[in-house]
Structure formats: C-alpha cells, structure tokens
C-alpha cells in the first residue's frame, strides 16, 4: 500500500476568500490524505510549518491577486530551504489565464483554477507526488 500523502494547506497572505480551500481540505481528507489546515499564513511561516510537519505537499489558495507576488516568494523560500525538489507545491484560486502559465514557469507543480473538480485535484496531487517523490501512486 502507498504511504499516506501529507498535505499542508494555507490561505496565502491576507486573502479573505476561504470557501474554496476549506472545500479542498475536505476532499483531500476524504481521499485518504492527511491534511493540515493552517488558515491565513505567509510564505516564511508556511515553509517553516512544512518542514516541522514533514509534509509531502504544500497547497496555497489565493483569490485576491497576490498569486504571483506571494506565490513567487513561496517558491523562492522553498528553493532556499532545498525543498523545491522534494516537496509538491500547488496553488489554486482566481487568476487571469496568462498567470496560470507564469505560475507554472516560476515553479508550481500544480495550478487549479475555479471549476477544478475534486477528481482533477486529487488525481493531480497524487500524480505530482508519485513523479516528484518517486512514490507509487
């Protein structure tokens, strides 16, 4: 049996729109993952918690426009801590379409836009983890 995937979820920065992420938290848990939900947080604290909790996945949510600024900071922080290669970093929220591509370029492993289904999210996270961490899906 594959090891349980451990996920850290956080609202990025001061964003107040939290329905989406709470929904995702539920769905990942129902899919058998271990979920740690920390509410609103900033890149530095998110990475610190990711290290402490030794998670496989960090998922952040931004619907307020800060996906590139704070999202970029999160990736930088992960690189600095040497986590970029052994951690799946995913982001969801409201972005202009071109920014989806940019988020991929700066290093997010998964991008989820409004309308992403439970199945898309769960499957995609499992896949990223299996590829990145060389684990059976």
């Amino acid at each position: 049996m594959a090891a349980q995937i451990k996920v850290l979820l956080s609202k990025l920065g001061l964003d107040v729109h939290n329905r989406g992420l709470i929904t995702v938290a539920n769905e990942l848990r129902d899919a058998g993952m271990e979920v740690i939900y920390i509410g609103n947080s900033f890149p530095k604290e998110i990475i610190k918690t990711a290290i402490q909790e030794d998670v496989d996945v960090v998922g952040v949510s931004s619907l307020g426009g800060a996906h590139l600024t704070l999202g970029g900071e999160l990736i930088e922080m992960a690189k600095k801590e040497g986590l970029k290669e052994r951690l799946a970093l995913v982001i969801g929220g409201v972005f202009p379409p071109a920014d989806g591509t940019k988020l991929k370029e700066i290093g997010f492993d998964g991008i989820f836009m409004p309308g992403a289904t439970r199945e898309e999210i769960v499957t995609s996270i499992r896949q990223i983890v299996s590829v990145k961490m060389d684990r059976p899906p």
């Binding site: 609202k11 920065g13 001061l14 964003d15 107040v16 729109h17 939290n18 329905r19 709470i22 929904t23 938290a25 539920n26 769905e27 848990r29 939900y37 509410g39 609103n40 947080s41 900033f42 307020g64 426009g65 800060a66 590139l68 600024t69 704070l70 900071e73 409201v94 972005f95 202009p96 379409p97 071109a98 836009m113 409004p114 309308g115 289904t117 439970r118 199945e119």
Partner: protein, 586 residues
C-alpha cells in the same frame, strides 16, 4: 429564578392578531374548485407527474424547497389580501415599502469600485458616474479590509488588490477628489465593525477638511460582526463580544452625529456567498439586527431612533422565483418583528430597505459570457422583488477584478432593466401569483424557524462563539460541492452542455503597477510630517476608551484627525481586546 426569555417566534405567536378577516376566496367556490382540481389531476395529469408532483430544484445557493407542479388558489386557501399583502407602502409591506415604488424613485445603480491606489479608483468612480451610475460604492483592498498598513510586512504583494488601498485620511481625500461629498451617496464597504470604526472617521475628517457639515453626508457603511468573525479569513481576530460592542458603538455614534448616514448594513450577501441557503442568509441578518436593537434598548435609546436607519444587503442567486419570494417574505417578516417584537408605531422602522448584489459564486470561469445572462436574471428577480439598490457582478470576475468594459456592461444591465423592459412601471408585478405567494409564505416561515434556532442557542453572539454558524456553512458548501460534482446542480457550460472546444479568451483586467511603492511613499511622508506626540496620545486615549467601555468612535475620529494610520489604530484594538481563534470546520 429569572423567567426564560421568550424567542421572537414565541412573541410573534402570542401577539400577532388572529386571522379573523374572511379569506379572499369564497369557501363554496373553493370547495367546487377542489373537486375540479381532483378531477383534472386524475384525468389530465399523467401518472409520472402525479407521482412526482413535488420536485425540488437544485440550484447554486438554493434553499431546496420542494415545488408543486401547478399552484392554484387551493395552495393558499385562507389568503387574506389586506393581512398578507396590503397595498404597496402599506402594512405588512409585502408589496414594497413605498406606494409608488420605482415610479417614485428608481432603484439606485451602485456599482462596486475599487482597485489599485486611490487615484485609479477615483478615475473609475468618475467613469461610472459619467455613464449614469447613481451611487458610489467603494471596496477596499485586502490589507485595508484586514487593517494592515501598506508598509506593513503583512501587506506586501497585496496592496491595491481586490479593492483600493487606504492608510489614512490622505488616501480618502484622493479617492473622492472632485467629488462633492454633500451631493452624492457613498457606500463605504467597510465590512467589519473594526474597520468601520477606523475608516469611517477618515471619511468624516475629510468632510471636515472640506468644510462640509456631517449632517449633509449621505451613504452607508456595512459594520457587520458576521463579516468580521465568520465570513472573514484572517490572521488576527478580536473576540465576538468586543466586535459586537464596536458594531454597536459605531451605530450609536453615527446615529448621533451623522443623521442621514446608514450606520449598519446587515450583510447577508457575503455569508450566503461563503455558503448558506437564502433562508440562513436572512435568518442570520435578522438575528443580528434583533440583537443590535436589544443592545441599543439596553443602552437607553429609543427603538425607532435606530430602526429607522437599518439597512440590509442580500445575495440573489439563480432560482428566480425563490429570489423574488425571498425579498417579499423577509420584508413582511421584518415588519412583524418590528411591530410586534419591538412594538414600534413608526412605518419607517418597519421598512426593510435593502441593497442587493448579484451572486458572485454563481459565475463560472468556463464560457464567461454566460455570466452576463446569469447576472441579468439575478438582477431582474431583485427588481421584481422591490429592492432599493443594486450592484450587478461582471462576467469576468472568475478571472479578476472587472475591466472597465465589463463594469460598464454591468451598469448597462441595470439600465436596460430600468429603461427598456417596462418592469418598473407596475409595483410588485408578481404579487397575487398563486406560486409566488405560496413560496413567500413558506420562506417566511423557514426564516423565522432559523431565527428561533439562533435565539434558543442564546442569541446571535453566543451562536457565533459556539461555532454554530461556522459549522452550518461548512456543511452547506461541502454538500453543494458534491451536488455540483454529481451534476445534480446543473451549470451550463461547466457540467451541462459542456462545449466540445475551448472558446477564445476574454480580455482580463491587469492591476496597475507601482501601487505599493506609491502607497508606502505617501504613508512615509505622513509619518514624517505628523505630530508624533499627538498621534501617541490619541492612540493611548483610544486604548483607555476600549478598556473602560466608552464608545470608541470619538477616539478613532481623533486618531484620524491627527494622522494615525489604519494599522496603528487596529493595533490598539488588538492590545485592548486580545485575540480570538475562530472555529474552523471541515
């Protein structure tokens, strides 16, 4: 032992006059009709339809109330026109709060505006007014809503996003440049009691500077504990009871000093969008309003002094007739509460005045132009329900803040309803519909039942502290998500009639660049030039007032006058009240 406090529902049950007047329908005629109906049903209606006579529409943010296939006078046999409806402008105000409704005063077209720095927002406000917008509606950026300054490390990367950045009176001044404050109505979307206590004084100080007396100012703030303690997702919260106190302090001060201002807008909107049915949305707002009035009575005020200026804010979603019925139902229920629970004689106190904004979560990213149609139906339902003012969401909001073109289209949606469809000429055009009246009755009953549930927990603030609402929301939206995924709730272009090919992209708004730097520079300049001793003593006096239980607003006003920033003032609240950890259910 003290007598157990009666709930609003119990009071209404005792005090509402008995239905003595004869029904509009003649009993003999009804009996005949009943036989006709049964015969029709057994001969004309197929077996399948008879079996599925009641069907529950599954819609985004819907209430899941079952509907019959056909409504007749038999659906509401003891219908009493004067007692249930009355004429428009007459008790129980089911048909509208004014006799002539939109013939007398058109609904206010109040489109939200706010992005980037104050300069950009000022330009957008002028654009909307130049195209026939009749009210201003200013939305603040995330750091401003959450009460952090633009130069706070917490704000980096988020300044001017989702709204306009405001740190001090200087920014307020720029937002309203060339706009005569004594001749416009301004809705400042200060969601929380805490940020209302901080931002509204900045607006008042701006009026002072321009020599405009406060009694000439017209507009509204939100000032709603539900937004601060439930709907919000933030790093730092003050406890519910302190938040409620600030809500009431704001109301008291504004009522005393800015007589034409609407000091609270019970915001069902953001709550419903977060995830509740239209019934819970209204029940929560009513419970909060009842709690507020009780607190104001305790503080020694007359009920009408407050009630005459209360306003509500609703989210209309896609179940068209439910939305029309809901607005009518809550208007009648509010009348009953004011007349029989608070014993008012003033018609103005019995009026439920409301603003609506079309539903944002109902908008889809897939095939975004479909959203234009959705929002137009939402808006039409509200106008048929008799609301006072409207904001229509833009079709591109599943991508970003609306472009100028999309914002104009939203305004045009309202103008087309108003000028081209003819629906505003007749008051309450759906009144008397067998279906709409039956649905209005059902929804009114369900709202009152949920108010009762809240009061039995111990009132609204206690229900919040216990996480009752947090839990209800989580259950609702998780269930809704499942219904969407299973295709039970149908969304055209998303899970129903999905397009086989991707459509061409739409234009999407880009935030202006350099806003953060500009805000920081302006705030830096203010910090240099202000009198730091005055700043410190104003902040200290505020902290004392918080701790002593004095009304906070005279003190936040003084803070605004001497150039305190928003973040500095919020820091005082945090020190004085401590922090609260809201429950999270998932």
């Amino acid at each position: 032992m003290a007598e157990k406090k009666k709930t609003t529902k119990e009071i209404l049950r005792e005090k509402l006059p008995e239905r003595t007047a004869p029904s509009l329908y003649n009993p003999a005629a009804l009996e005949g009709l009943c036989q006709e109906f049964e015969q029709w049903r057994s001969t004309m209606v197929g077996e399948e339809d008879r079996k599925n006579w009641c069907v529950t529409p599954h819609t985004i943010l819907g209430s899941e109330i079952p509907r019959e296939m056909l409504y007749t006078p038999l659906s509401n046999p003891d219908f009493d026109y004067m007692q249930d409806l009355g004429h428009s402008g007459q008790e129980p105000f089911t048909r509208g709060i004014h006799a002539n409704m939109y013939r007398g005063r058109e609904f206010t077209m109040r489109q939200l505006t706010g992005f980037g720095g104050p300069e950009e927002t000022n330009q957008r406000i002028k654009f909307m007014l130049a195209h026939g917008g009749t009210g201003i509606n200013v939305l603040f950026d995330l750091p401003t809503i959450q009460m952090y300054d633009s130069d706070d490390p917490m704000s980096r990367g988020q300044v001017g996003m989702s709204g306009v950045a405001v740190d001090s009176v200087e920014d307020m001044d720029l937002i309203f440049k060339d706009i005569p404050l004594d001749r416009v109505t301004v809705s400042l979307v200060t969601h929380y009691p805490s940020n209302t206590a901080i931002l509204f004084p900045m607006y008042l100080v701006l009026a002072e500077r321009r020599g405009i007396p406060w009694n000439k100012l017209r507009g509204s703030v939100q000032n709603d504990i539900t937004l601060e303690e439930v709907v919000r997702s933030g790093p730092e919260y003050i406890p519910p009871k302190d938040c409620f106190r600030i809500q009431c302090d704001n109301i008291e001060f504004i009522r005393q000093n800015v007589p034409l201002w609407n000091f609270v807008t019970y915001n069902g909107y953001n709550l419903r969008e977060f995830g509740t049915s239209g019934v819970t949305e209204m029940a929560v707002a009513l419970a909060n309003a009842i709690g507020t009035l009780e607190e104001m009575l305790r503080r020694g005020h007359e009920v009408d002094w407050i009630a005459e200026r209360l306003a509500f804010f609703w989210s209309p979603a896609s179940d068209f007739f439910e939305e029309v019925a809901r607005i009518r139902a809550v208007r009648r229920l509010w009348y009953k509460i004011m007349k029989y629970r608070f014993d008012t004689q003033s018609p103005r106190s019995m009026w439920m005045r409301c603003h609506v904004q079309t539903s944002g979560v109902s908008l889809m990213r897939e095939e975004p132009l479909n959203n234009i149609i959705r929002a137009a139906y939402h808006a039409l339902a509200c106008v048929l329900g008799g609301v006072q003012s409207l904001h229509v969401d833009s079709y591109d909001e599943a991508y970003s803040v609306p472009t100028e073109e999309a914002a104009l289209l939203s305004l045009r949606t309202q103008q087309i309803i108003q000028a081209e469809t003819g629906v505003t000429e007749v008051v309450d055009p759906l009144g008397g519909s067998f279906y709409v009246e039956a649905l209005t009755n059902e929804i009114e009953m369900r709202i009152l039942d949920e108010v009762d549930e809240i009061e039995r927990i111990g009132g609204y603030v206690t229900a919040l502290e216990k996480g009752w609402l947090h839990k209800k929301i989580a259950e609702y939206f998780n269930n809704e998500r499942k219904m969407i995924e299973k295709g039970v709730i149908k969304l055209v272009g998303y899970n129903f009639y999905k397009a086989p090919v991707e459509l061409p992209p739409i234009n999407v708004f880009r935030y202006p660049e350099g806003v953060e730097e500009k805000q920081k520079a302006r705030l830096g300049k203010l910090r240099e030039k202000r009198d730091i001793e005055k700043v410190n003593s104003a902040l200290l006096a505020l902290e004392e007032a918080c701790k002593k239980g004095e009304n906070v607003m005279p003190y936040t006003l003084q803070c605004a006058r001497v150039g305190c920033s928003e973040g500095e003032i919020f820091k005082v609240f945090k020190q004085a009240f401590g922090l609260w950890k809201p429950p999270v259910f998932w």
